[in-house]
């Protein structure tokens, strides 16, 4: 085993002074494995959703609680969960999944206000926050708070009511979890002291996606991708250090460049794994 690891990860005479992992044949094999995996993995997710699925825990109750917590920190009045706004949010989420878009205005020109009006909610002020690709409620609220425009919606004194929808589906053939938050205000700007926690009157108001697959596919692909890039960084660095010390002349590319490239890939994956707000 020790010899195998040495052969794979360290340069020596037996592997022509280049770690076996960095040989062209190994690189080609890994490219093939990851390429096939990129198309096989989604198929496995579809075929065995209970085993290899998305571990998501987002609920309207948690979203409301975290939103009101942020408002309380700013001495703003709590928002009340409103069934009409929740219905409007659900209609909007379903509309996005049905028409394959993720935006405030649909491709057919339907605005958030259309959904709110159709729900029967009469408003003076209204707003909408969107999110996708998050796996828990706190991350969604934190991301909205980090965006100035979404933050201003969440901390606006113009709103008294809020409705949420959480929907899991496919956008552009990719698995996604959408979160829609609709705000409404029926009267002029009010700044209330934090009141008692809002009772959630009926389960019909609640919208949640709770999926607990045995293996969280999101975590798995992120770990494999970052792990592989990290393994190459370590192997390239070891290869470079050992060969420099032994002063062996080889015809190879610059390991330092490859290290930078794989570092960039890791940064890209970390950035891409974050959800989006809109």
């Amino acid at each position: 085993m020790q010899e195998f690891l040495r052969h794979f990860f360290l340069p020596h005479e037996g592997n022509n002074h280049r770690a076996k992992l960095l040989h062209h044949t190994s690189l080609l094999a890994l490219i093939s494995i990851f390429f096939v995996g990129a198309f096989l993995f989604p198929l496995l997710k579809t075929s065995f959703p209970d085993v290899l699925g998305i571990a998501v825990n987002i609920s309207s109750g948690d979203l409301l609680s975290f939103t009101n917590q942020k408002r309380a920190e700013k001495k703003l009045g709590q928002l009340y969960l409103n069934s009409q706004l929740s219905q409007a949010a659900t209609q909007k989420a379903n509309n996005m999944l049905a028409h394959n878009y993720w935006a405030h205005t649909s491709p057919t020109g339907a605005t958030p206000w259309k959904f709110i009006k159709e729900s029967g909610y009469s408003y003076i002020y209204a707003g909408e926050n969107l999110a996708r690709g998050f796996s828990d409620s706190k991350s969604v609220v934190d991301a909205w708070m980090a965006s100035p425009t979404h933050r201003s919606n969440m901390l606006s004194g113009n709103y008294q009511d809020v409705g949420f929808a959480v929907a899991q589906g496919k956008l552009g053939n990719e698995d996604t979890v959408l979160v829609v938050e609709m705000f409404g205000g029926k009267k002029a700007s009010l700044s209330r002291a934090p009141g008692p926690s809002v009772p959630i009157a009926s389960n019909t108001l609640l919208s949640s996606v709770l999926s607990n697959a045995v293996v969280d596919s999101n975590f798995l692909v992120r770990t494999i991708s970052i792990g592989m890039a990290g393994l190459f960084i370590i192997t390239l660095l070891l290869d470079m250090i050992i060969v420099e010390r032994k002063k062996i002349i080889r015809i190879v590319g610059h390991n330092s460049d490859h290290v930078l490239f794989f570092c960039a890939i890791i940064v890209f994956i970390i950035l891409m794994s974050r959800g989006a707000v809109g």
Binding site: H24, L27, L28, L30, I31, F34, F35, G37, A38, F39, F41, P42, K45, I54, V56, W102, R132, G133, S135, L171, G172, E174, D175, T176, V177, S217, N218, L220, V221, R222, I224, S225, M228, A229, F232, M240, E244, I251, V252, G253, H254, S256, D257, H258, L260, F261, F262, C263, A264, I265, V267, F268, I269, L271, M272, S273, R274, G275, A276, G278
Partner: protein
């Protein structure tokens, strides 16, 4: 390694700048997976081209090196593609 960075600082700096700009774009364009995929492919192609040009300018280009850059660039892109196809977005 210090000697390498001293000798190739402009090349390495250009690589870091392009990677940094790409990371900024990816973070700003989080709403569009298609654009993110395009950026990752673009970076892979850029890296291969950059590597080959770098060796060509320093007169140490060789077929083995060209193949190595193509394979490393392809592997980076494939790893990112695997991640993009497998996760939730």
């Amino acid at each position: 390694m210090e000697a390498y960075f001293a000798k190739h600082r402009w090349y390495v700096s250009s690589l870091i700048v392009v990677f940094g700009l790409s990371a900024f774009l990816i973070s700003q364009l989080s709403y569009s997976k298609q654009i993110q995929v395009a950026i990752v492919i673009g970076i892979g192609v850029f890296y291969v081209t950059w590597g080959i040009l770098h060796h060509h300018v320093h007169h140490d280009i060789h077929t083995k090196i060209v193949i190595e850059y193509i394979l490393i660039g392809s592997l980076g892109m494939t790893i990112a593609l695997f991640f993009l196809k497998g996760g939730i977005f």
